[in-house]
């Protein structure tokens, strides 16, 4: 076991996962002396009937839902957060439940800051004012297209991000009624994001056993269930296992420094309006190829996590590192037809790559040099091997 000279780790969220998990929410709320949560969700979910199932889980409980704020679409903006905070205050709510994925949870987190800090000026916290107090209880119930990023300690509102340990949700509820995905694309996107984050966390140079524990479980589930999940997006058990993987990967990710794949994908998504997941799928193999090219060690644990004990033990020690990379590639190959394989296919203009590499390098605090970022980007753009 590798122990670094120094590390910090925190996972604030309690995870409850499995059968009838949502029915436990009233009990958990009781533990916070809360009984009137505001529900933040999206119109799509409320129209798809999932919210009905969610409301059904509160039968025979002492909880009153203070309102279902279902105006969130695919973007978390301050306007929505203020509206929801207004609703929260008008109804005298005492906690927040976010049902959905990224934007819904971001809005919920923003509402939480607004109502807990009793302010209207959200962005001062983004500009340096520290969050000082524990916020209101925040429960996250991811639904179909979640990517796990809901469980991190980051809130992104209006394209600005704030990271604070107070922003971890208090409770993550993974319920098999909510997790089955609508489409294969959904699963493809989420699995790729989880994969990129888990691999990134597993291979990060600032490593710790705690991160490894989370990344290990995440990768293990991905290795076991990804293929099936892509074939049958609505399969209940598989979707639950995959959602576990997403959550654990995100928790590992939020304790590890952001990896190159993540940074580049986010910048690319910003520049092109194409979802970050698609870029992660393209970049991940090139990033690993680049690591091998630079003779950086790819830890054997990657293979262990993806393949399991038996296969790992049966593989000669010198081959394990490479086998891990091959396993990742094999899993990604399962996405054929669902996701493009080069950036050329996505029609990313090549002239933008320089700026993107620069921005990503700057955001990593120069952990990745601009040249490295650019090399990976260019290879990925052309689909050229190292």
């Amino acid at each position: 076991m590798q122990i670094p000279d120094y590390y910090e780790f925190l996972n604030q969220a309690k995870i409850i996962s499995g059968k009838k998990a949502m029915e436990h929410i009233p009990f958990e709320l009781r533990g916070y002396d809360a009984q009137k949560p505001l529900v933040v969700t999206s119109r799509a979910l409320s129209e798809s009937g999932l919210i009905k199932k969610f409301i059904g889980a509160f039968k025979d409980s002492a909880v009153t839902l203070g309102g279902i704020f279902n105006d969130v679409r695919d973007y978390a903006g301050i306007g929505l957060a203020r509206d929801a905070a207004f609703l929260y205050r008008e109804r005298g709510c005492d906690s927040i439940i976010a049902v959905g994925n990224g934007p819904e949870v971001d809005v919920a987190k923003a509402v939480n800051i607004l109502v807990a800090e009793k302010t209207d000026d959200l962005f001062k916290y983004f500009e340096g004012t520290p969050l000082k107090r524990h916020l209101k209880p925040l429960i996250v119930v991811p639904a179909c297209c979640s990517s796990g990023m809901e469980f991190t300690n980051t809130v992104t509102v209006d394209n600005r991000s704030l990271t604070s340990n107070f922003l971890y949700p208090d409770l993550a509820v993974l319920d098999p009624r909510m997790t089955p995905a609508k489409s294969r694309d959904c699963v493809a996107e989420s699995t790729v994001i989880a994969m990129a984050h888990a691999v990134g966390a597993a291979l990060t140079d600032i490593h710790s056993p705690m991160i490894e524990a989370y990344a290990h479980s995440a990768l293990r589930y991905l290795g076991l269930h990804m293929t099936k999940g892509l074939k049958k997006p609505g399969h209940v058990e598989t979707s639950l296992a995959l959602h576990n993987a997403y959550a654990l990967a995100a928790l590992a990710f939020s304790n590890a420094p952001a990896g190159m794949v993540h940074l580049l994908a986010v910048e690319l998504a910003r520049a092109t309006d194409i979802s970050a997941g698609k870029f992660m799928r393209i970049l991940l193999p090139y990033k690993m190829a680049h690591m091998m090219h630079k003779k950086m060690k790819i830890r054997d644990e990657l293979f262990l996590a993806l393949a399991g004990y038996d296969e790992y033990a049966a593989t000669p020690a010198k081959d394990r590192s490479r086998a891990g990379v091959e396993r990742v590639l094999a899993l990604l190959a399962g996405l054929k037809g669902m996701m493009p394989e080069t950036m050329k296919d996505l029609k990313v203009p090549k002239y933008k790559l320089g700026d993107i590499a620069k921005a990503a390098s700057a955001r990593s605090g120069k952990r990745y040099s601009e040249a490295d970022c650019k090399t990976v980007l260019e290879h990925a753009w052309e689909g050229r091997a190292f």
Binding site: E23, H24, P26, F27, G56, K59
Partner: protein
Amino acid sequence: MNINNYPEIKAGKDFISKIYVAIMLWIVGRAIQAASRVDKEVKKEFAEFPADFMMCMSILPFGPHMVVGKDKNGKVKYMGWNPQGKKITLTMNIKSMAAAMQVFTFQESTTTAFAHDRFTVDGDIVQGLAVVRVLNIVEVYLLPKIITKLAVKRYPKWSEMSPLRKWVGRIIIYVRAFTF
């Protein structure tokens, strides 16, 4: 913004589950009472309990409840469904009605439910465990083997509970539970 577009939603009611669970609790309560007279193991478990023993099994947050305790004569008795006004020494709560349905429809065994954090026990844990053991025995009596096997870790072997004892006990407990 028009807040009337986002109405408050009061928790719904599931009467069927509630009635089903209430009946099951009544049966179990009566059966514990009956078993405590019939089965020597159950008798032994209860014998060690203090005289003021009074347990309440509830479904959070509004019930139904089941109160079983020792009466003045030290006999174990089903004390009805209302815990109010009684001095409860041991509370076993099931976190939600849905969890209770899982348990009482035998989809989850008592121990699995414990492992799944569906129960909370407030009071002396020794008594709590004894109650779990009693429940297991009661299940063996009340239910056919095929169901009970799902609910307990280890179905009693011949050596532990002979078929004769089981069937005689089963009949007596059924008769006692459903008559007054």
